[in-house]
């Protein structure tokens, strides 16, 4: 029961973030930032080009997935490739570069006490 309550709190916090994101997505500033092709049109915008855009994307959705992928710039992503491991290594290197100064810092500051392994780490 306690666990369910905690999960509900986490999901409520996530829902708050999602609500703010949806609210912000309807602001005119962000509407202008979005690309015109494949644009999501809110229900209130029924006429003009927005309506055409929705009609166009829906017709593409009913068609082959290749067409939809070309529309949203995801071509080449659908199939898995072993060469994609480069992306994993690249991300690992970026994280490594961020961690490196923190890992080396205690060596140059001998006065600092290192943390223990027991107990719960800070989240």
């Amino acid at each position: 029961m306690q666990l369910l309550g905690r999960i509900a709190i986490i999901l409520a916090a996530a829902l708050l973030v999602v609500g703010i994101a949806i609210g912000l997505s309807h602001t005119s500033y962000l509407q202008n930032m979005t690309p015109t092709r494949g644009e999501f049109a809110p229900q209130s915008m029924t006429g003009g080009t927005a309506g055409n855009t929705v009609a166009r994307t829906r017709s593409q959705d009913s068609g082959d997935s290749g067409g939809r992928n070309r529309e949203f710039g995801r071509e080449g992503h659908n199939a898995a490739s072993l060469f994609g491991i480069v992306q994993v290594i690249q991300n690992l290197l970026i994280i490594g570069l961020i961690v490196l100064p923190f890992a080396l810092a205690p060596r140059f500051m001998p006065g600092r006490k290192s943390g223990g392994s027991g107990g719960q780490p800070p989240a």
């Binding site: 997505s25 999501f40 939809r68 659908n78 943390g115 027991g118």
Partner: protein
């Protein structure tokens, strides 16, 4: 003693769960490697992993939230702010991922009108998450090093040296030494 044992097993559980989440993050951040379908399903699983991570650190979360505006140390406040940013960012990544889903959600019979804005937010938030996860790992580096040393390196090291076989081996060596003819 019992409490100490329980505490140690908590560290072990944290290490295992965090390692799995980190590996999942690295894989999910490479859609070229996995393909789009696995990317989407793994992304949803990653969201569940984050909820598990938060549940495992619930005590810290509650304690720090309570004393955030009173006597929390500066490092705890920085950590808290970073974690809050990370939570918002990961929530955005998962949510926008759901909104632009092409395999996972349609498979479940759910589909949303695809939007350029969600794709843009998804990409930006995912790029940002790489830096934030890096900082998150960096801030807990000492804990990671100690936990890996205690629960990975030490047990593996003790197995490699075969401590059970050692007494037998040393006994044979001493016997062989006794049988050697004495010099001079």
């Amino acid at each position: 003693m019992q409490q100490k044992k329980q505490q140690l097993s908590t560290t072990k559980i944290n290490l295992i769960v965090d390692s799995v989440i980190f590996i999942a993050f690295l894989i999910v951040m490479a859609p070229h490697f996995t393909g789009m379908a696995i990317h989407e399903w793994l992304g949803l699983a990653f969201g569940a992993g984050i909820v598990t991570h938060l549940l495992l650190h619930w005590q810290w979360l509650v304690a720090t939230t309570k004393r955030l505006f009173s006597q929390a140390p500066r490092q705890a406040r920085i950590n808290y702010a970073l974690n809050l940013l990370l939570f918002i960012d990961i929530t955005l990544v998962v949510f926008t991922g759901v909104m632009i889903s092409e395999s996972a959600l349609p498979f479940l019979g759910i589909s949303f009108a695809p939007g350029g804005i969600w794709r843009m937010v998804h990409t930006t938030a995912a790029d940002l998450s790489l830096g934030l996860i890096g900082l998150h790992v960096a801030l807990h580096w000492q804990w990671i090093v100690n936990a890996v040393r205690n629960y990975v390196i030490k047990p593996v090291g003790s197995r490699v040296h075969l401590p059970q076989a050692m007494p037998q081996y040393t006994a044979k060596l001493s016997l062989a030494a006794k049988q050697l003819p004495k010099e001079r």
